[in-house]
């Protein structure tokens, strides 16, 4: 297994302009950490923490490392290729794309610049769609997907890179009951497979119930918490 932690934050402070979102964060977890739940009220910095890990938000103070590399590191992009990220659900955008094309985006960085996707890349895309249960939707335009289907396609896109760590941000939010259920089943499948560590931001007790360790974001800080403290049924 990896000697370096998948995520390591040291005295991390994140802010938007003058508004500090979270400060003094010290945590680390490895790629063998299982499923970690990130819980807390809206605006407590959970999604911002993910974005900081991915180099999308620059820390105001401290440092966050992904597989030992921080944003300013020359090898940071290589480290990112070991992470899959499915952000909070957003509209599919103006670019028309089939599900297979969307999932193959997850393979772009792995394939390398200038290089077209290889047979191995395409096999990884098919495997990710199979895992997410959307193989039969592969030719469908993303604009025609339901919320749950689109969310599973986004998770498949993250899985296509065969990441060591999967960051899932509110995977069941804004979904109807049936769609939510299909995403929970996918998360259960990924959690039981044990091939990839997962960090899940969620308010959904059913999604959080899959986690073996919890981080509570509240009052501008982060602390370890138990299921009981988070009142997860």
């Amino acid at each position: 297994m990896f000697a370096v932690p998948a995520i390591e934050a040291v005295d991390l402070t994140l802010a938007y302009g003058s508004r500090t979102v979270v400060s003094g964060v010290n945590l680390r977890f490895g790629a063998d950490a299982g499923v970690i739940g990130l819980a807390g009220p809206n605006g407590s910095g959970k999604s911002t923490f993910f974005k900081a890990c991915l180099g999308l938000v620059t820390p105001k103070a401290g440092v966050v490392r992904v597989f030992g590399e921080c944003e300013s590191s020359r090898l940071f992009r290589d480290a990112l290729r070991m992470v899959g990220w499915a952000p909070q659900q957003r509209a599919p955008g103006t670019l028309r794309m089939t599900v297979r094309e969307l999932v193959s985006l997850g393979r772009c960085a792995k394939a390398g610049l200038f290089r077209p996707l290889t047979a191995g890349d395409r096999a990884a895309v098919e495997e990710a769609m199979e895992t997410a249960g959307i193989a039969d939707l592969s030719k469908r335009p993303t604009q025609e997907l339901s919320g749950g289907q689109l969310q599973r396609a986004n998770i498949a896109r993250a899985l296509a890179a065969k990441p060591r760590l999967l960051l899932l941000d509110e995977p069941t939010t804004h979904l109807d009951r049936e769609s939510r259920r299909s995403v929970i089943i996918l998360l259960e499948k990924l959690a039981s497979g044990g091939r990839v560590a997962m960090a899940v931001v969620s308010h959904d007790p059913e999604a959080l119930a899959l986690c073996g360790r919890y981080l509570a974001f509240a009052d501008g800080g982060v602390k370890e918490a138990t299921r009981e403290e988070l009142e997860i049924e």
Binding site: L95, L137, K189
Partner: protein
Amino acid sequence: MNDILAVPAFVRALAALTASGLAFPALGTFILCLELIPARFAVMHVSLLGAAVGLMVGVDPMLAAVTGAVASGFLIARASEQSSVSAGGPLGLVMTLSLGLAFIIFYKADIHAIEAFNLFWGNVLALTETEAILTIIAAAILIIAVAVFFKEIRAVLYDRELARASGLPARAIYYGIILAVCLGIGLAMRLTGALMVDASTILPALAARNMKRSLGGTLLWGAAFGLVMNLGGFALSLALDLPVSPAVIVIGAVLVIGTGALGKRDGWNLPPWPKSERVPKKVL
């Protein structure tokens, strides 16, 4: 036809219109995908200002326009990274200020009216050999770059944050796209004029978007529509003794309206889902 090909100005015009028709609709697709419509207005106006400065100081106006476009593109790309700041206000300021300064230069530098009008209306028949070659080279580079970086461009057009978070050099690719758009607008100004620069970029891209295909299909349809627009417009202008740029725009508008209407009637969608492929409600 042979008579036309015997005139160097016509040959240069045809070559530039063919090259730009094939390549520049890709820029229109980028503009539409990245929602750069207001930004490209600002680029057009700064290009015009650049051309006015070029005319004043005796530099090739096309070169000056391209320089202005690229400089404004760089600033726009920088500004768009500050997502918390709305770009609408500053872009409006840039547009009106550029136009105002351009008119002041026309007036004070005593620039001949026809030269100024050429900037607004364009004059593809007045292209110099250097300008025609520059347009062809730019079009060829654009086509090659899109082919080589297709998967990276698609990732950035879909979602810049996702592309960056996956480990792609999304920022560099985004800047490359913006600079290509600005370069194209600067070059297209000479072909169609500042007021009708959309003819070479947006109109074929809009018609291609109406075909409702993925990025690859949209780019190919855009190239086909761009070629039909430019050459059709050129032929129309010769047949009816019209200025070239407006004739190109008329053909482009017909294509956009036609594809839009057909798209509504027939859907233009990917083939309908066979019943056997319909997804069961519970997939998992």
